[in-house]
Structure formats: C-alpha cells, structure tokens
Symmetry: C2
Subunit: 338 residues, 2 copies
Amino acid sequence: MRIGSSIAFSQPHSLYSFASIVGQKEGEGPMKNYFDKIEADPTFGEKNWEKAESRLQSDTFALALQKGRLQQMDIDCIIAGDLINQCTGSSFAVRETKIPYLGVYGACSTMAESLLIAGILIDGGFSGKSAAVTSSHFSTAERQFRFPLSYGGQRTPTAQWTCTASGAAVVSAEGGAPFLMGGCIGKIADLGVTDTSNMGAAMAPAAADTIMRYLQDTQTNPEDYDAIVTGDLGNIGSPLLIDLLLKQGINITAQHQDCGSLMFDEQKQDTHAGGSGCGCSASILCGYYLPKLQNNEFKKILFAATGALLSAMSPQQGESIPGICHLVEIRSQEGLAC
Amino acid sequence: MRIGSSIAFSQPHSLYSFASIVGQKEGEGPMKNYFDKIEADPTFGEKNWEKAESRLQSDTFALALQKGRLQQMDIDCIIAGDLINQCTGSSFAVRETKIPYLGVYGACSTMAESLLIAGILIDGGFSGKSAAVTSSHFSTAERQFRFPLSYGGQRTPTAQWTCTASGAAVVSAEGGAPFLMGGCIGKIADLGVTDTSNMGAAMAPAAADTIMRYLQDTQTNPEDYDAIVTGDLGNIGSPLLIDLLLKQGINITAQHQDCGSLMFDEQKQDTHAGGSGCGCSASILCGYYLPKLQNNEFKKILFAATGALLSAMSPQQGESIPGICHLVEIRSQEGLAC
C-alpha cells in the first residue's frame, strides 16, 4: 500500500536470516563483537581487489543462507549492488549462483534499496524468499575513486573511510522477527556540495528529506522509534542531518545513530569522519541492529541508508554530488504490537 | 503471482505513455521513421558526453510525460539506469526532478529490469504510475569501455555499436493498451566468452535461459507471440540464441527479432554486428513495438533485453563476460482476449 510517498507492506515480512563479514580494520573498531566474521586477509584469497570484494560478498550471502539453514534453491531473487564500476562486485558474486538477479545502484544507500525491492517482491507474492546483499572494499574504492593505494595520499579531516564489509539479509514471506514493515524510496537531493572528501555533507539533505517524508506519511514521531539509523553520514554529516531536521521542527537527537560513525574509533583508528561504502551500513544492520531486534532489545528502528551518486569523473566535470537516502522500517516481535 | 520462476501481474498494467529519442546515426537506420525525435547534435547542447547522455535521458522522460499529458507529480517513482560508471547518466538526469528514484544496473538489459520493477510496484499498490527510463550514448561508452574517440581504433567484425538513444515508458495502474502482463527476472549465464568485441555471444546463453524459463512457466509456445524481441544480441548473438533454443526443442526462428540488428543497416552504416547499449532496445521498444501494440498490429510480444555485466577492468583481470536477460510480456488490447 502507498501512504503518501511511502510504502507500507500488507503484512510484516520476516528478515529470516542475515550475516555480516568485515575486514580486519573494521573488526578492530567499536562494532568488533557484533560481526559474524572478521577476515584478516584483505584479498579474501583472491588475486586482485575486485575479485576479493566479490568473494567477500558471496561468502556473506552463503553465510546468511547457512545461518538460516537455507539452500540457494530457496532464494527466488538476489537484489545486490556495490560501488565498483558496472557493479561487477555483485555480478561476479551472483554469477556463482543460479539465482535470478536484480542489479541495483544506490551507492552506499544500496542495502536499503535492496531491502525495499525484496520486500516489494515478497509483498506482491512474486517471491517467497529474496536476498538483499551489498558490499564494499577499501581497496577497490580507494583506487577507483581516489588514489593508487601505494601513493599513500593524505586524507582531509572530513574524508570517510570506505569499509571492507558486506551484509546479506534474506527477506521471507514466512518466518519470525525481525520484520520488514515498509519504507520510503529516496529522492535525489543536491545542495551543491562539490567536495568529494565530504560525502556526509552531500548526503545529509537526502536523509533529512526521506526521514521527514516517512515520519509525515506514517504520522509518527522520532520518539516512536528506538533508533533512527542513517547509513554513513559520519561525524560531519550527522550533525548536519540533525540541524536540517530541527529546522523542520523534528528533533531526532535522542534517536539518531549513524553506521559510519559507529564503525570506527576516530581517535584510535585514524579514519577521520567515519566509515562509508555499501557494506558499512549493511554489515552494521546485519551484525548489530537485526540481532538486537531479534531479541527485542530494540523494538522499532528506521534504517535510512544514504548514498552519494557521483562517479570519479563527475566532480572533474564540475558537477556537485547528488545524494539519495532510501529507508526501511524494521520491528521486533514486541515491536509489532506497539 | 509467482509462476515457477516467472512473474504474472494480478492484472494487466497500462504502458500509459512512452517516448524515444535517438542520435543522428540511429536516425539514419532502418528504424528512422519510428522514433519520436532524432537529435543531430551529439552533445545535446551540453559541454561533455556524460552531461549529453543525461540530457538525452531527461529529455526522453519529459517527452514521455508530455505525450501522456502527465506532470512530474503524477509519477511516483523513476526506475532508471545506464552504462556510465556509477550510473551517473541516470542520477544527473533524475536529479532535475523531485521524483523518488530507484537506480538499477543491468547493462543493456536495464529497460526490461526497470519495466519489471515498475510493474511490481504498480501491482503491489505501491505506485499509481512509475517510469522506466534508460539511455546510452556512443561517445560515453566508447571512451569508457574502449578507446579515446579521437584514436579512431579499428573495430572487429563481431563488435557492436553503442547507440546514442533513450527510451522512457510510464507504467500505470489505470489506462489503456499496450499492457504489461508479467515477465521473468534473469539469471546470470556465463559460458566463458572473453572477447569484449563479441558481446552477442556472451549474452545469448542468458537470453536462451530466460526465454525458455518463461515459455515453460507460462506453458506457452513461440507461436503464441507475434514477436520474441531480444535486446541487442546483434547479428552474431542472434543465430546463437536460435541454435541454443533449438537444442532445447524450441524454435523461435519465425518470431525472433533483435533490436541490435534492427537499429542499423550493417552494409551502409559500417556498424558491424549491430547496435547495443541500454538505449538501443529501450528506444526501439518505445518507438517501434509499443506503438504497434497500441494499434493492434502486434498482439503479444516478449521483450527480452540482454546485458553483458562486465566492466572495462574485468576482462583485463582475466574474467569472462557474465550475461543476463530480463523479460517482460506486453500485449495489445486485442491481445488481452487471446
């Protein structure tokens, strides 16, 4: 059902099983105890970074299946995406399966976009179980968007650190908590930020727009949620989001949490403004939030993943950075009754 | 509803309005009388090729709205994609609107993927009208995937020509023919083709798999359709598809048509194995097939757009080319009764 510009599923859909795998640096941060697996080898046993990211993604999907005691044949569709040119991180990961595949591109907002599409497929009866999977890898992103790894370029204080991380979640018509309730498809917002080392600022307006629309459409307030989780606004974008919403009379200070800020210890890990990448919010969702929703520590959260829709070339052509934010609402068993 | 691994919508959804715009070369080919607009200026009035493609895409979307007497506010969601790194052709086109946006990546299969997602959104009641939009531009693709334009590299006989073209279609819960009936989400097929100048061969196995699954799931035969249209297998991939299906006992020789082969006159236009690109099949669908379905010249067609999920880097890393093919069934008013 459509509510304003938001989406409410006809019934809650189970987040049946989920998994997260991250790299060594991510596994040394504040979230280290929550991930299913921390892989010390950044190559994941492969010959190049791009193959490493595909391996990371397919391993995470396989682990989500294993945790749910599922087989590949139980999954009707994989909805996946990543940051590598032409989304080959996902294509080559999914190639190892025989599962129908919808490739999506929402930059770091991809996990929420994938979950929305998975939920829509389930809700329409087009699928019994579909998987949302995303990944990012520090080394694929760094050499594609920034500098050769061996160059060792100095990063600005506003820069974020692309996480080596992946999250996979199976959405199912049948099964228990946590539950996917609905969400909101993002609109592009672009207030003219041109600094590619300040993605948080570029994405904050899109997050504000999506969160505001969803609260309005569902006639809910920030206090109705245990957490309003943004993807990877990081330490610069997060206060901007709060300010933008305060100007609209919405105070999310008490509920707001950001996966980019949660991923690293800024002081100890030299990661500047926080983590980023399709796998950042996906791994923290699947590693930290979903288990806490499963055991009712959280009852209701909004997961609002944010993406910066630029390429390595577009800023060189004088373009500003378009931001987008897709949102899904997730509830625990007890949250259903609220 | 799910039928096997295929999708049947609960009711036919209107392809309410649609438009196609192509470049000069495409406008000199056999399809020249069918496109809404042929633009002689390859820059579309912009300063670089990437902006030109975005302009082409947003102009085509605007024309689809205009032809349907629609406003931007009538559209609940744009589902769009293209071949440029990080899909910026679409991001910067959609940025000019205030419409919710799902970015997708299926290479040249993107139009069918977008139509499937649009149909699924409509079918679930999540949208009244959604638009599927894709584009490609010879010059953005050439310099990204192949050689600098000014280099003037010699192309092999099996190479295809990326079309400067865009198609946009509005799918609507209400409205007349042609109608979107359902379809089939593609699986990745990769038989090990590594020649990036022979995409048709790389994509043919995926097309065979999707078409076969859809015919089996719907218990239909090739003769039930006026045309089985593939995206851009071109002159090399098309006979391979027919052979692959013949080996499975399915003969589509009489029904098969290919947008890549239809786009250019191989002899006169020096385009070798045919056209390709997200805009190739999209512009021919919106310019040629949908009008013929609107006036009942065709009653039932399958539109099976094909994509090669490689990047410029993946073949250099020794990877073969994964192919995918998404399919939608479209019927005329009279086709509904068949």
